[in-house]
Amino acid sequence: MSSTYQIIWHGRGGQGAVTAAKIFTEAAYLQGFKGVSAKPTYFSERRGAPVSVHARISLDPIRTFSNVSMADMAVVLDDNLLEMVNVTSTLKEGGLLVINSSKRPDELGLNGPFSVAVSDAFQSSEEAGLIIEGNVLISTSILGPIAAASDLVDLANFKRAVEHKFSGKALEKNLLALELAYRSTRISSYTKFARTVSA
């Protein structure tokens, strides 16, 4: 089980956490992880309510379908959720917290034994024109900071996974949103001895 990397996605119903997690697992499969899974946790979910997706990527086929209790990475699709959900209580020491926010990592008031990667996915998607009926779609732009802050899956494989899902104008916009969010990622790295900030 130690060869399995576990991720919890935190979003709001309708925000794209399920779609983002699916594209992420597809990209991980393209990267060479034989086992990938993404399990949305369903209750009486509705638009706007907090939802989560439990994902795993592994070099071996996945045999467990249980919830992720401690994640190697937590992805937060909306920084308002930080006030509602204790996302760091299920994050391992030394883990990575990826947040969609317009703030800098040090402005989020998060202190703990984990790295923080922040990108303004809303802004990246808006710039790329990913707006439908007033909703900004961030399920591809949220993948940008993951690619930037972790060496799990290359940006090229994220792009290939996006290419499998979209075509035409929608594909162009999604690829641009991913690229913009990737480039504007700000990372606060955690090590046991010191915290360093890179740009």
Binding site: M1, A21, K22, T25, E26, Y29, K34, G35, V36, S37, A38, K39, P40, Y42, P61, I62, R63, T64, F65, S66, N67, S69
Partner: protein, 395 residues
């Protein structure tokens, strides 16, 4: 080149039905089965699948209409869950009794009340005695492979077959699934052969009312009595144990993958302690066995694939020489124990080997089951005196 897609078990089920070139689909949506009906409706609408999609007002009507279509020779498909499946109950008996090779997906969900949309296996287990073949899947690959095999089995012996997989845990979880090529599926599963029906001739020549003893039918030939027909169904279900194995072997020859026939083993060759389970829970149990082996206990897993017919001889043979058997299941026969535990203990009665036996009910109504929990409970079963218990009761 292999076609691997990262999809849910529900998508896998819909793709399987398409690959089997089903001709009539009738289904009524219910969580967590709904995406199966949506995807199939889209395939029919876009003409990618040349089938009749009958929209009906209930699950009872869905099953009634696929039975009717099956009786006149069509390859049919439906799917349901939980209370929807229970609403089909009368027609499930009818499908088996009239020997129609209906194939359905049961997306396992807990039964209300109290209301739940989440997973356990009480729904399909409560349909155990309807005369259907029931196959349980440990992952989404087995869902697509088992539905293809189910048509082979059902149409060979004219017994309906239910392919069961866990709601949400598999139905809504995306994992890599290898999609079989259409040409190979066509080779494996030719068009449905001539309709044989409840009698040896057709569905139409059975007397409107079957009496207790044989009597002349409307064609002037002797027609069997009710009990004789039921005896044939029972005999054919027992014969189906061999058919399920053959269908899986033939599948493996063509596609290079096996679902294990009637049951599969994990690290059982040297095991002193067997864990027996079915569905995705059995997959979870393989991790529990790994954890027990780290503690120095020689643990293994038997995953039951065919619950009905119950492959008593195969399982008892696999349990030969083990010291303990621990059953985990997501169902219970209220007032006694879990259904699998009862069946397995009855099967072991005829065996010379009587291992220490313990059974647990876990994960009802979607309660999360961790491999660590299974390993801890199995450890208690192996080292203690527990006979039956419910795991992770919180209040």
């Amino acid at each position: 080149m292999t076609d691997v897609r990262i999809i849910t078990a529900n998508s896998a089920a819909a793709i399987a039905a398409k690959l089997c070139r089903v001709q009539v689909i009738s289904a009524y949506p219910i969580t967590p089965q709904t995406p199966v009906t949506e995807e199939l409706a889209q395939l029919v609408e876009s003409k990618e699948l040349d089938a009749e999609y009958l929209t009906v007002e209930s699950e009872h009507s869905a099953m009634a209409s696929v039975i009717a279509a099956s009786q006149v020779g069509a390859r049919v498909f439906t799917a349901s869950s939980a209370n929807g499946l229970l609403y089909m109950h009368e027609m499930l008996h009818w499908a088996a009794g009239s020997r129609t090779p209906v194939v359905m997906a049961c997306v396992n969900r807990g039964v209300g009340a109290p209301w739940t949309i989440l997973n356990d296996q009480q729904d399909s287990i409560s349909q155990r005695d309807t005369g259907w073949i029931q196959l349980y899947c440990k992952n989404s690959q087995e869902v697509i492979d088992s539905i293809i095999q189910a048509y082979k089995i059902a149409e060979h012996i004219d017994i309906p077959t239910m392919v069961c997989y866990d709601g949400f845990i598999l139905s809504h979880t995306t994992t890599p699934v290898e999609i079989p090529g259409q040409e190979l599926v066509d080779q494996y599963l030719p068009p449905r052969r001539q309709v044989k029906g409840i009698s040896d001739h057709s569905f139409m020549n059975v007397n409107p009312l079957i009496l207790s003893d044989p009597r002349l039918g409307i064609d002037g030939k002797m027609a069997p009595g009710y009990m004789d027909m039921r005896y044939r169904l029972q005999n054919d279900l027992i014969k189906a144990i061999g058919l399920i194995k053959e269908a899986d072997q033939e599948f493996e020859q063509l596609f290079g993958r096996s679902c294990g026939g009637v049951c599969w083993n994990y690290k059982m060759s040297d095991a002193a302690h067997a864990i027996v389970s079915f569905g995705s829970l059995a997959s979870e149990c393989t991790l529990a066995a790994d954890l027990l082996r780290q503690k120095g206990l020689r643990a293994g897993v038997i995953g039951l694939r065919s619950y009905r017919p119950f492959p008593k001889n195969e399982i008892v043979k696999n349990l030969n020489g083990v010291e303990t058997v621990t059953v985990f299941e997501k169902d219970v026969s209220y007032g006694y124990e879990g259904a699998l535990a009862m069946d397995l203990k009855a099967g072991l009665y005829d065996s010379v080997n009587h291992p220490k036996f313990c059974s647990y009910v876990v994960g009802l109504g979607g309660r999360d089951v961790l491999p660590e929990t299974l390993a801890n409970e199995a450890y208690k079963a192996i080292t203690g005196e527990i006979e039956h218990g419910w795991v992770d009761i919180k209040a």
